[in-house]
Symmetry: C2
Amino acid sequence: MDAYEYIKDAIVQGKFEPDMRLGEESLAKQLNLSRTPIREAIKQLEAEGLVVPLKRGVSVRAFTKEDIRQIYDLRILLEGYAASQAAHFRTEHDLKAMEKANKHYEKVINECIESNIRNIKEIVDANQQYHEAIIAATKNSHIHFHLSKVVVVPIIFRSFYWYNHFHLKQSLESHKIILAAVKNKEPERARIAMHEHIYQGRDHVLKHLSN
Amino acid sequence: MDAYEYIKDAIVQGKFEPDMRLGEESLAKQLNLSRTPIREAIKQLEAEGLVVPLKRGVSVRAFTKEDIRQIYDLRILLEGYAASQAAHFRTEHDLKAMEKANKHYEKVINECIESNIRNIKEIVDANQQYHEAIIAATKNSHIHFHLSKVVVVPIIFRSFYWYNHFHLKQSLESHKIILAAVKNKEPERARIAMHEHIYQGRDHVLKHLSN
DNA sequence: TATTGACTTATTGTATACAAAGGATTAAGT
DNA sequence: ACTTAATCCTTTGTATACAATAAGTCAATA
């Protein structure tokens, strides 16, 4: 397995906790690699801001409540724009992709609610696919590039992020509203709906964060 | 000197041209270093999107006209937001910093016009300081983080970016308008002025790009 | 007992050595 | 002459070895 993917996943899944120091030798042993590729992976993660440099080596970045607030503000700006652009310029192909992603999200949510089993990874993935479909319709690869870095952070706190059925249903409803606006080519409606959708996610996360 | 800084500067200054392959041994010799730190620097640049991976090694990313368009769209969105936020929340201290940066920019521009000498680096730096002062007033470090990656790209094409006195004066005028709006706490005015300012820069660059 | 200082240890940062994979060049065959 | 194949060479990718520095420990003195 790739060192970069391994470490990033471990951070996002919370296996490597905030402020935990990442020892190179330790990681090298876990991955059956030498320190050289480990260090390269760490440098990439540092450039993305997921780990922070110490005097020597790095530690997992501990995002503060203020960080989360700022990241959501940024995400609201970018994804709101993406939604409005999608409503403007979407093709039939884009729409099909979004509808497919939405159908899938609906299926996952409903299964989750019925069986009362919280398969967090599946929900997070389905949600991301939906958002990616909208961003793809924007046809701005640079926005996609930066959003992909931004979106990852709150997922670190996903353990309580998706924890109740009400929020899940609310989220699904928002997705439908956004999709309808894009389908009807209503940019401002799409932007506002996306804003509201992400604000709800933000509030939900912030409510459960202490510091 | 740091390998990362060296390579990044060389790319931004145009010393390493687009599509040029970056040989590790060659860079190591230039910097009197071994390949190890070179590779780490390259990984960072790859994460930022300034170099692209080949089957083996990397080359300097060749940004297309479409890339530039997308990057400017993104920058307009982010800096427009920054300007409006600055107008909302700016403190006296923020304002002082912006005014100082603006004074300095004015000085540089005027010297440049009078002496007819185009010290491109000085102009670019003064311009960046002004924009940074506005972004600082936003108090959103994550927006600053992403903008810092975005802003760099068009500078690669700066040789003709700042090439005439009319554009320079126009740019200075825009800066003053934005500053006034921030000073008077007019968020929408500030955003629109920033949009216009960056659109002008965009058009100027695009006009001189062929493909 | 607390604090400071030297010493020891562990881990990073850098260099080098080795292995593997592309790309280039040359030769052979059609 | 042009294409194809095989070999060689250059450069990357990985591992290891060495050097440098930060941190931790222990002892000594106030």
